[in-house]
């Protein structure tokens, strides 16, 4: 699956799609593939604050429960509640319908430290190489 060029990515395999001061946040195709079938997601309540680098929820697959880390700081304005009944959307459409939360960023211009798609693809290529080494 292609990694959208306009998204920003974290080393923990989250993506962020910025529009104005609002950002959609989700986990990457690489992450969903590593997790396997997702059976449950725990998302923060609307109105709660998330902090860059800190965990804001969990994704549970048949193999593991993983924390999700915030790519940036801000306030949650929407959570993708359909995931409660259809968590498999994270597997089938991780970069689209499987988005997790919409956040109003505290400082939209400060996204330093996040990777662009090219850098992220290089990053996961090295991760895979390490895993198979």
């Amino acid at each position: 699956m292609a990694y959208p060029a306009n998204y920003r990515y974290t080393k923990e395999h989250e993506w962020l799609d910025l529009e104005g001061d609002l950002a959609l946040i989700g986990i990457t195709d690489y992450a969903q593939h590593e997790l396997g079938d997702v059976v449950f997601v725990e998302l923060p309540k609307v109105g709660s604050k998330i902090e860059a680098g800190k965990t804001f929820g969990t994704v549970e697959s048949v193999k593991a429960v993983s924390d999700i880390y915030a790519p940036a700081s801000g306030e949650v304005v929407e959570a993708n509640d359909v995931l409660h009944s259809t968590p498999e959307k994270i597997n089938t459409d991780p970069h689209g319908a499987g988005w997790l939360i919409k956040v109003r960023l505290g400082n939209p211009s400060d996204l330093g430290g996040l990777m662009d798609s090219a850098a992220y693809e290089l990053y996961i290529a090295s991760e895979s190489k390490e895993a198979s080494a």
């Binding site: 449950f40 725990e42 549970e60 697959s61 048949v62 193999k63 593991a64 429960v65 924390d67």
Partner: protein, 448 residues
Amino acid sequence: MRYLPKSPAERQAMLSAIGAKSIDALFSSIPERYRLQEALKLPGPLSETEVIDFFKARAAENSVGYTSFLGAGVYQHLRSVVTDAIIQRGEFLTSYTPYQAEITQGTLQAIFEFQTLMCQLTGQEVANASMYDGSTATTEAVLMAERLTGRRRILVARSLHPEYRDVLKTYAKNSGLHVEEIPYSANGTLDQKALEAALQDDVAAVVMQSPNFFGVVELLPPLRDAAHSSGALLVTVITEGVSLGLLSPPGEADIVAMEAQSFGLAPSYGGPFAGVIASRDKFVRQMPGRLAGQTTDSEGRRGFVLTLATREQHIRRERATSNICTNQALCALAATVHLTLLGKEGLREMAHQNLSKAKFALAELEKIPGIRRAFDAPFFNEFTVVLPRSVKIVNAYLQREKIIGPFVLGTAYPELTKHALVCVTETTPRAEIERFAAAVRRALEQPL
């Protein structure tokens, strides 16, 4: 998993592999003064016949022929030899964390049956594979409520088992939980007015027991309404499971924490027992411990697996739902076998006998001048009476007559100075209840 001692050669090989010269060198990071300098003082080895003689002598020290009126969280009930025969099968008795679905269908099915029975008894939707005991199950229920509500204030009935309250306070002490006690009212039930006054939108859980520590049965619906009106969860604790043979299941509770000792586990020295946590399906992912689930295998046959294990400590480490719990598999199995033998009618019959005999005992005691019932709310197989003299003195007298007397409530409730908590189960014959009442009468007539 096998437990075999290592030979000196194997020890040497292991030591050289990690680069340590000796066992002492391996432990050199432990300060000298904390290391044992001499051999541990243990008695020397015994032959098989000596071991048998030793244990026969210890067994002869057991008190036999006593009749007990002591309950207070641990109850003497009928136990069938069938239970012991089944749990002593090697497949159950010696297996350790036996959850590999490919080879342990029997154990997983037994756990699944246990969970099913606990749901049926408690009126809840999901129960886990068991906890250490009722007290830790209660604390886990509180921690679960904290996770579910994001709140940290806990209102606990003073009529909750005092040892359960102690366990909760121990966990709460350094975890930022604020535990407050709600008093009991004149009839022994939880003081609803005090509860409502204490409830605010920062309360995670209202924790209460029924029948409570004084033996009094609580009415759950008003307590649930009060808790829910401020967004708190209702945690209901049950120490005497047999009561569920008669009382309506605590379906109003959001989380039920129960002690399963009454179901086929001997009182022993106070353990090992098995705790139960049961709750609503929607709360399952905040439930501690493990859960056995029913599924179908690749050929469509019914099978059993461990589910939700991904949230457990061996996988999530410090992020696990709980790091202070385990599954009491063998005790839970005993409870499962016991309840299956009893069946629904058997449990109801057993519960009826408890109530009838307790009522008879109360009537016998009330005939004695100076004795009165302390609380007038309904009870199950335990009730509180006020004696005209110290319960400890009466108990000392009873002991001479081979009777284990009632629980001295003053030890846990300083305000209940002459209050005795009397327990009568189906195992107490009518003649023994009469003998008990006569002995109490004589004890009260003894000169000081």
